[in-house]
């Protein structure tokens, strides 16, 4: 049940617990308890809306930053990652394979603000060797959902 519940929520977390219970052949109370437990265990981390900020009047810019790091003895990358992801400007941070080490997503009001953050906060961190900043110009798809697509029903009324 746990996996199926997670799959349902991943798809649409606005379903009522009653609807989810019907889908799982369970009861609303059981679903509520399972969701609570999954949250407490840190499996379900958050229930967020996916927003296309382009469509609202909102000053906003995103940058993807490739960060090269010198790992520290005994702590690997975790310590420096922590220093970085604690900043509220950092909305995502992952350790990755390939030509750099940390993939950091930074959000700010404008390019200048993000650039200043990188120059004043990110780059000066001791074990950070280099940062390559890529500003996002247009977002096409996020979390499996295509942006700027109408999801209306345009099927013709057919006879069968």
């Amino acid at each position: 049940m746990e996996k199926e519940l997670l799959s349902i929520l991943k798809n649409n977390c606005r379903l009522s617990v009653e609807e989810i219970a019907v889908m799982l052949g369970s009861t609303a109370d059981e679903v509520k308890a399972a969701m609570k437990e999954l949250s407490e265990k840190g499996v379900i981390v958050a229930y967020n809306a996916l927003i296309d900020w382009e469509k609202v009047d909102h000053e906003y810019v995103t940058a993807y930053i490739e960060v090269k790091v010198t790992p520290q003895r005994g702590q690997g990358f975790d310590k420096v990652a922590e220093r970085i992801y604690k900043y509220p400007q950092v909305t995502a941070c992952s350790l990755v394979s390939g030509g750099f080490d940390l993939f950091v997503v930074v959000e700010g009001k404008n390019m200048k603000e993000v650039a200043l953050f990188v120059a004043e906060k990110l780059a000066p961190i001791d074990s950070v060797m280099s940062c390559a900043t890529h500003f996002v110009l247009k977002k096409y798809k996020d979390s499996g959902v295509i942006f700027n697509k109408t999801y209306g029903d345009d099927r013709e009324a057919v006879v069968l």
Partner: protein, 387 residues
């Protein structure tokens, strides 16, 4: 000249689909939630669409062989074997058709004509009876029963068979009821059919949309395989309705004759669709599973919803239809659907559109978003309370 007088009687006498008038009505209305359209709401998975596009870009715009590209028939053969354990030789036991609909038409026309009878269990897909009548044969209907969960029973077949019976059309998972037949259900009717000179036309277009257990085909019974035409296609499973591509599998001697009609009437199935279909069978499986998973969740919500607002319905475990019993409303199926549409702007299809015995029921499809289903159930509930 009075054109109508020139038209053949069996065409004149065949009524148009009873669903039409509702679709004409909703064209004039706004904010209608349609639970009426019998096709997937999903777009064809991109990997499949892209292969269609590539084929056009490469200039693959010519005819294929009449039976369809051999590569596609090979993929169909593999699929039928892997999925249902049915072995068909791609060379002469598989015919690619213009949708499952063409396969239904030509299999009936190949075996039945004036003076012949074809058994058509109802409620069922509206085209069966029409195709039998166009062929000049006589449809003999069987009334499937709600208390049997709309399964086909052996004594019903026995009562329908005469010395004129040439074929029987079996359609499970069923449109409009969502009913399925399991192994035991088929076993009982196989006992009746196995030693009769009656062709079984088994429409299995909704096979992939089976939510409990595995789909069973009557052709899986060894004594039935050489007398059964299995019809399947891409429309429902791969959300490819507009591509118009399906296929028939059966004994070479039968397909050879069916192929003649196909050859002269259609030449071949659209080749863009054939290239796309190859990709569907090679790489479409994960997307099919994703769609089936989503249909299943909606199905459970819809069945539960109907029951909660006081409409009795058995649990349909196939296709994407629910067939609730609306007799508690005191209205006929037609009145129910018309008044519901006018009052609450929800479209369902009256059960009698699929045969007289569908009276007292309506067809609702869950091939629509969960938000639509939720809102439709609220409106239908309000409608029932207003009666």
């Amino acid at each position: 000249m009075n054109i109508k007088q020139m038209v053949k009687n069996n065409i004149l006498e065949t009524p148009p689909s009873g669903i039409r008038k509702y679709f004409d009505m909703i064209n004039e209305m706004e904010d209608v939630i349609s639970l009426g359209i019998g096709e997937p709401d999903f777009e064809t998975p991109w990997t499949i669409r892209e292969e269609g596009i590539y084929s056009l870009e490469r200039g693959k715009t010519h005819y294929s062989s009449n039976a369809g590209f051999i590569e596609l028939r090979q993929e169909i053969s593999n699929y039928m074997n892997n999925r249902f354990g049915l072995k068909y030789n791609p060379k002469d036991e598989i015919l690619v058709t213009v949708g499952g609909s063409e396969a239904i038409d030509i299999s009936i026309r190949t075996f039945a004509g004036p003076g012949d009878e074809v058994i058509v269990p109802e409620p069922s897909f509206v085209a069966y009876k029409g195709c039998v009548m166009f062929a000049g044969a006589t449809p003999v209907t069987i009334e499937l029963k709600a208390e049997d969960h709309f399964k086909l029973k052996p004594d019903q077949i026995i009562n329908a068979i005469t010395d004129k019976t040439k074929a029987i059309i079996i359609g499970y998972p069923n449109n409009p009821t969502g009913a399925t037949m399991d192994y035991e259900d088929y076993k009982a009717i196989v006992e009746v059919l196995k030693d009769k000179d009656i062709i079984v036309i088994s429409d299995e277009l909704y096979a992939e949309l089976t939510y409990k257990g595995n789909h069973v085909s009557i052709a899986q019974f060894p004594e039935m395989k050489d007398r059964t035409i299995v019809i399947n296609g891409f429309s429902k499973a791969f959300a490819m309705t507009g591509w118009r591509i399906g296929y028939a599998c059966g004994p070479a001697d039968a397909l050879e004759q069916m192929k003649k009609i196909h050859q002269y009437a259609l030449m071949c199935s659209p080749t863009t669709a054939q290239y796309a279909a190859i990709e569907a069978l090679k790489n479409g499986e994960p997307e099919v599973r994703r769609m089936v998973e989503e249909y299943n969740r909606r199905r459970l919500v819809m069945v539960d919803g109907f029951r909660k607002i006081g409409l009795n319905c058995f649990e349909p475990v196939g296709a994407f239809y629910v067939f609730p019993d609306i007799r508690v409303s005191g209205l006929s199926s037609d009145e129910f659907c018309e008044r519901l549409l006018m009052q609450e702007r929800v479209l369902m299809v009256p059960g009698n559109a699929f045969g007289a015995c569908g009276e007292g029921f309506v067809r609702a499809t869950y091939a629509t978003s969960i938000d639509n289903i939720r809102e439709a159930l609220v409106r239908i509930g309000r409608f029932l309370e207003s009666l």
